[in-house]
Amino acid sequence: MYECPNCGGNLKYSISKEMLLCNHCDTTMSPYDFTKDRDAEESTEYDVTVFTCPQCAGQILSTDETAATFCSFCDASTILDSRISKERKPAKIIPFTKTKNMCKNAYMKLVSKSPFIPADAKDEKCIDSFRGIYMPYWVYDISQEGPVTLYGSTSRRSGDYRIEKEYEIQGEIDARYVGFSHDASTSFADSISEYLEPFDTTKARRFTPSFLSGFYADTSDVSEENYRRQAIDGAAENTLHEITRSKSLRKYTLKPVPDKVHKTHTKLDGATLHMFPVWFMSYRKGDRVAYATVNGQTGKVVADLPIDEKKFITGSLILAIPIFIILNLLFTFRPIITLGIVLALSIATLLFYSFEVAAIKKKESGPIIGKLIKGFPGAVIAIIMSLGTMIINPVHDIYFYGASAICLAAMFTTLLCTIHYYNILATRPLPQFKTHTGGDDNA
């Protein structure tokens, strides 16, 4: 806790004032003016209270000792265990510039546009549980210096001939990047952090623990080595992209460059720990958990958006009414045509289903994979039956209606399975950080 020098109240970082503010006497102070002895600049560590969730073992840090009453990672409402600890001091911090209200509005804007979101995701209490958390990120310092040889060609026409000239293009590059970043926390999934970017690292300020007052911070438990390659590749790719578009090389059609990193003399000069601002909220969806995050600097929202199956069915039935009216005004389909359309769309549904299953197999592992064929054989049988009906072309309409209805039922089941699987993709298993052996969930 940072005590106000005037009244002894709790000083907290005010987003709007960009200062530490005392809520009792309105005293404001620069975060740099308030340095506890233990936060001394030369120190590589700082004192924090580490809150640990008794259910998932997820940890968050705070400079405040006030008890935390819920876990942001597994949504458990419980008093988190606390202990005083020393944590590695980050080099820089991007302070929050978006207030909680801005964050809530941005989230509500996304949720209101997204159809069939479960009521929990829109619940006032749930939305109010957005918590400002500074997420640790590794920021890589990359340089590129040295001669570079590229190969390219030009082409021009001369009468009935095309003249092609091939060149060896020699030049020199001098490039530097300070800002390729990657989250350094196992509890912050890549599937969120990568979409939450970009953070403007040019706005990062020297870290002092008082910035954390009023907020939480996540622990950094991922080595910077994990994402080195990604940062280096990104720098090499971007440099070549910029060189290709440079005025002097624009006239050439450049050949693809193998081993871009080597070619561009890309080397890592170092990596520093930064803290980036993220508004974070979680809610349960069955035995899984969904996260919603808002970039505390830009206001960009990245959220797991699961679907409420009941809302989807009700919404579809309601939507079917105007479609039915419009179809009646415009079309009279013969039963065989109806069956053809239903059949084609059933096949499309099966394709959607296959994409979801493939995506789950890529993302998840374990017992869930064994349950993935539910609904699939039924749909295939229905499609074969319908195709048979179309080929036989019976006289009575009832066969076409029957086949269409079976196809519709199979499509409905397949779609519900698809949505069920979509929900698996849109949520995550309840975290168990105790069993985590390091590295990011998907790294």
Binding site: Y161, Q170, Y177, G179, T201, T332, D397
Partner: protein, 252 residues
Amino acid sequence: MRKILLTFMAMITALLFVPAEIHAATYTNDATSYRCLMEDDANLLTQSEEESLLETMKPITEYGNVAFKSINSNTTTTESYIKSYYRQVFDTSSGTIFLIDMDNRNIWIFSDGKIYRTITKSYANTITDNVYTYATKGDYYACASKAFGQMYDLLEGRRIAQPMKYISNALLALVFALLGNYIRLRIYTRKSKVNTSQLVKKMDHHVKYTHHDSILLHTRRIYDPPSSDSGGGGSSSSGGGGSSGGGGGHSF
């Protein structure tokens, strides 16, 4: 010249389709001059049924010509046959024909002119769908009689039952709604990731490239004459004053 050609074609068609034994009955509405024609070449109706059917057909002559036709053999499709037959008997004037094609096991309605504005292709499909079960059971009189009855109802501005339309559209509406909603949710719940160029804009960076030299390695001359395609002249054609009738049918 066009008239001569049409007459010649009509004569040829008439010769082609003239059955061995013709059961024909006619009636002309004095007020409208529209004709009522019955040609039961397939001999599906009894004399009394023909007379009764003719009575059912007569009111339609207030709106146009009307014909009942049944055939035993047909070398073309039911649709082609009925179109040719229509031109043969009614040419381009307003009218409607109900055909029972025993060869292809189809019933068909074809309309043209003023009547076609009411008994559209959709309604022809609906009516034949409503009555095909009678033909399946061999009750051709009921089949034709109900068909003409429904045609008259439509011409009189009354509504007819359209179970085929409602069942088909209900099924399709459900299918479209389910799939539409799924596509909608996938679009709205898609997350967008920034690319490297966008990331780089938000970081402290510089890229300086100094171009020193370009050394010519090879020169190739490839024979590649410009394409000799030239724009084709526009063509225009003007259609004759053809009729745009149509209809629909159902197997039985």
